[in-house]
Amino acid sequence: MKPLIRKSLLATLFVPVILTLSCTSISLDSSSLASLVTHAGPLLASAAKVTDAAKKANEQFTPRQEYYIGRAVAADITSMYKVEPIGPATLYLNALVQVLAAASTMPVTYGGYHVLILDTNQINALSAPGGFIFVTRGLLECTHDETSLAAVLAHEIGHIENRNGLEAIKQERRNQVFVVFGKEVVKNFGNQQLNQLTDIFGKSITDIVTTMINDGYSREQEKQADRSAVEILRKAGYNPRGLIEMLKIMEVRLNPDSGGFAKTHPSPADRIETLAPVIGTKATYEEPAAWTARFHKYMDSLLKTS
């Protein structure tokens, strides 16, 4: 075989390999981290290295892992609140969330986006990782058309796409997860390992729920969720001023001592001020009559009984 042709044939064998390697570089991070600890043994478990690796591991919760975390958080939330039976309003919210999610930076999650209404006059909304959203009847009363209702859901989708729930898991837990996962790599856990992981799982869920219910996300995370909401509303086709409108109604209705939103979120006035450079402070807008009619068709039965 002539040298040039032989070189070319060799190159044809290697080019796809090189290209494949470059294409799979994303996977190398997550898998190599796990195998690194697996094969390198206890020496690698020095605090600094574990902390650094755990940071990376946290960034690599897969959509499926996020889903199981979200399900457990959602189970906690539904045990704390009375859930509104599934009726026209819940079905409408579940259709609307699909429209909005499609306009987000996280249009699909492992198990999809779902919404339940919590039967309480408290003004609040909660979102669990992976797409589980809860809105109270009290918050829904701060909306009067589809655009302002979309703003409520868009803010919650913002928390999900920014992965604020996962960020609430304490560093200590992330380190433990990484060490346990790295110790032994098996498809079915032994009892001891299973119990250890279940314990870490339970504590991680408590971290998230405590942050959401008692402490609230940071002001920066709330601002970021509002900014995400503006982008989602715009991209979906809603006037982002619907968010200002909803916040202005909330400002009137919200009792600062009532807990819920008042305790875990910046004040509506602060949020409006933060949004001002982006969308102004005016709440005036018009939405197509068909949207308002749709809002009343599905929401009135719920809101009129409040």
Partner: protein, 152 residues
Amino acid sequence: MSKRKICFLIILLVGVSGLFAAPLRVQVQDVALRAKPSYLGTVLTQLPYGSRVQLIQSKGAWTEVTAGDMSGWLPSASVSQAEIEMNIGNEGATTSSNENALAGKGFTEQIEQNYQKERHVDYTWVNRMEKIQPPETILESFVRNGPHGDFQ
């Protein structure tokens, strides 16, 4: 054409075909393969978690793939180039060391079952919530009356 040029073309063609044939896996529970890059596109088939597809092209939030003898579009976020956790018995599951590592890495269904049993956690509403399907009448209303994207 000179031999040098032929050789260059061979390298280029194989390289490009390698790019276009990049393997991907579905990383969500199930996803609709659509005829066009839009949530309104006709659903050709549903692809379950772990399905292997071949990349044709990526176009923003949508990725064109072939799945078996069909080709269509998937939301880009529904597929991954990374190796994903597979359960034993998952169709198409491989047992590479990376996948084994990831199989033992995540919070899995096994952890959830143990957590549910140990803590007596009630998942009734969560399971009910996941089964909610908005009726066609509501979805059609959104298709017919909007919003239709990009607020002006």
